[in-house]
Symmetry: C2
Subunit: 429 residues, 2 copies
């Protein structure tokens, strides 16, 4: 049993993580929230207390921390006696937070791949550039590190594992489709940090096709699907974190990611990109001010966390999996539908933050209880998906399926842990 | 006879001014070019010498000058013994350059209304906010100040005066239409300093209708005309300098300005404006850098002077004038067509800079010769248009007309100065 959770980051996702951790503090123990800006952490603590989210009386506390400072992070882990760290800060801090966990013995959970601020779109598989280089050290030190445990990456990796385990004898393709059919009512806004959001789409699009990496341009290839609840939606072939582990851990020749965009989003993105305003290379104004254009764009856009109160509509994110079962062709879509207004009512965040913030808390609970406390570095698809998805059903993210029998919710209540050594799971799939 | 010309500014228009002044140095004398950036002035001098543009052996020299520094500007006027100053620098420096002229006795010519960097779109008439407040001082000191002597404002004001003088008994409306049917081959660029260009369209649109100021939003009202050479073109009701003097100096109830835009320009402009990236109010990045978004946009856009070599196509700018002549309704379009490639071949600038840069040199020649040396502050429509337009015909900007007899070039060779006191011209019209 591990307990006491240190949440690093204080954006919209961290807000969800804090609320969900508070709702489960009987399992998770003390809750600490740390970021560069103390006031943001304090405002999350206030929101948790205002909503009376703590399941039982307990500690929830805000801290100021520069998470790039490994010694400071180690000291905070030690001072708060945190055995689990949930890193939902900027993707630039992953490696320093992981290092602090390795040196202190804390379990590490994150929701996105590490990025170097100066590099956009490195060589695939991206996990190989930073995270997986620490795999041996984690195993040697017995550190549990669950990588990419948000929704996508995260839940969609569990969907992929579930499909391979339970629905197919052989999988030929996995198409992860991410649709936000919600509306924030602003002229334009990004649902996450604009800097991270845009960086996803300014580089090459890497996808796994015919068992090798293929590159395309963003917005080059689209598909239109009639999806549960949100209806007919167009999405675009995009690069995304989960492809970089799924391609290594599953024996599936085609694994692609499709992100839904409206025409307006694409137009604004295209204008900004073509003008050079999404560049992370500094420019100098006529007055001699040196500044990164992307950071100026970020400064003029709405703060993503400000969108929540007005956000309406739903998200639909899932895995369209094709393959063979008992000799016949089969196709299933395993998915979740989340509602922006419901998310705001419960935890004060919009639906995108909600889908990203609930899963790492479910992961933390499974680590705390031992089910996922594997004492090594893993991606989500290397772990048994059923306890994770079952817990998420109870925590507000219902898993559903659409197959030849129609659409229905899935239950995992009957799942019993198999006597399978966790390290063998990946190779089994 | 006044002589020796100090050109202030070193952009695309200044380049044209320098070349045209050089081509007329038998009248204008020494030519001096001054701006904040000495290298830009030196590069213009080099371009003039490379093209052997000096009509006769003479002085052309580059100077470094902060034109907001009145004492420095006075000193440079004195040192260069310049009796005519052509100000084609930023619209922010007009008042300091004019002050230096008033104090030294030099004639002053500019091509755009003064602007305060912190204010966008002040109360009309705009000339009343800055320039016209110095009218009495100019008259008292006998200073010739010709305001707005570019193309628009400038030549279009002369077209208006010509229409009122020669083609109508009564004018009911003047619609100034400015079409750039050229192509620079870039994704997006502005033809002038982006800062000034965008400021024209971010404020309210003031027009003179029913003998009063009316306000509209930019891109709210459009018209489509079949114009000489450039064909069918859509233009949009816009605010513009010349309306602010024509409405005062001519007794015409409707005076409007229409700027041609393609859909792509409007889309990029709309995205930038709605995102707040055209704002002149500073923002602060997450890293604490304070910067004006518009200046960052300017920094990423192509330098307007870099467009010239690839620019193709033509401009068509003119006055569509309606009214009565001899009791009957009449409509004439007085216009110029300029060619981007011709402009580049002659003076190394694109057509927009060419149309803006030739007229102030024509004005300077008329001041030098005495025809326009009126020892007071005037707008172009207060001066006899025929010698100005006749000179422009010979300098590369041909005036044409389209009326009930078709399209043809106009000649002003037969014009003889009337015995009219210059100060009376405005009230006569």
């Amino acid at each position: 049993m591990k307990k006491n959770v240190l949440i690093i980051g204080a954006g919209g996702v961290a807000q969800v993580v804090a609320h969900k951790a508070a709702q489960n503090n009987d399992v998770l123990g003390d809750i600490h929230i740390a970021s560069r800006t103390l006031e943001k952490c304090e405002s999350i603590v206030k929101s948790v207390l205002d909503k009376k989210a703590l399941k039982k009386p307990g500690i929830i506390k805000a801290h100021e921390l520069d998470a790039l400072d490994i010694e400071a992070t180690k000291a905070l882990i030690a001072k708060t006696r945190s055995q689990i760290v949930i890193n939902v800060g900027s993707a630039f801090i992953n490696m320093s937070v992981l290092e602090a966990c390795i040196q202190t013995g804390a379990a590490y959970i994150d929701t996105a791949i590490h990025e170097d601020p100066d590099k956009v779109c490195e060589t695939p598989p991206w996990y190989g550039n930073y995270e997986w280089k620490r795999r041996e050290r984690c195993e040697k030190a017995g550190i549990t590190a669950v990588l990419g445990a948000g929704f996508d990456p995260g839940v969609v990796n569990a969907y992929a594992a579930l499909a391979v385990d339970e629905y197919f004898d052989e999988v030929s393709s996995i198409d992860i489709i991410d649709i936000n059919a919600g509306s924030h009512g602003k002229y334009f806004a990004t649902n996450f940090d604009p800097e991270i959001n845009f960086r996803e789409f300014t580089g090459k699009v890497y996808t796994w096709q015919n068992s090798q990496w293929q590159t395309n341009e963003m917005f080059e290839i689209s598909r239109t699907d009639d999806l549960p609840v949100v209806g007919e939606r167009t999405s675009y072939l995009s690069g995304h974190d989960e492809l970089h582990s799924l391609s290594r851990n599953l024996d599936v020749p085609d694994i692609r990611f499709w992100m839904g965009f409206g025409e307006h989003y694409i137009n604004v993105f295209t204008v900004l990109k073509n003008l050079g305003l999404l560049s992370e290379q500094p420019v100098r104004t006529a007055e001699g001010v040196e500044v990164v254009p992307l950071k100026v764009v970020k400064a003029v856009l709405p703060d993503p966390s400000s969108l929540a109160p007005e956000y309406t509509g739903k998200t639909c994110i899932g895995d369209l999996v094709k393959g063979k079962k008992d000799g016949a062709d089969r196709e299933v879509f395993i998915y979740n539908v989340a509602d922006h207004e419901d998310a705001y009512a419960e935890v004060g965040s919009q639906g995108i933050s909600y889908t990203a913030g609930v899963p790492p808390v479910a992961a933390a609970i499974l680590v705390a209880k031992g089910t996922w406390d594997v004492h090594k570095m893993v991606n989500v698809e290397e772990l048994p998906p059923q306890p994770f998805l079952g817990l998420l059903n109870r925590m507000g993210l219902q898993t559903s399926i659409r197959d030849e029998h129609g659409e229905r919710d899935l239950s995992f209540d009957d799942w019993v842990p198999a006597k399978v050594e966790v390290g063998k799971l990946a190779s089994k799939r």
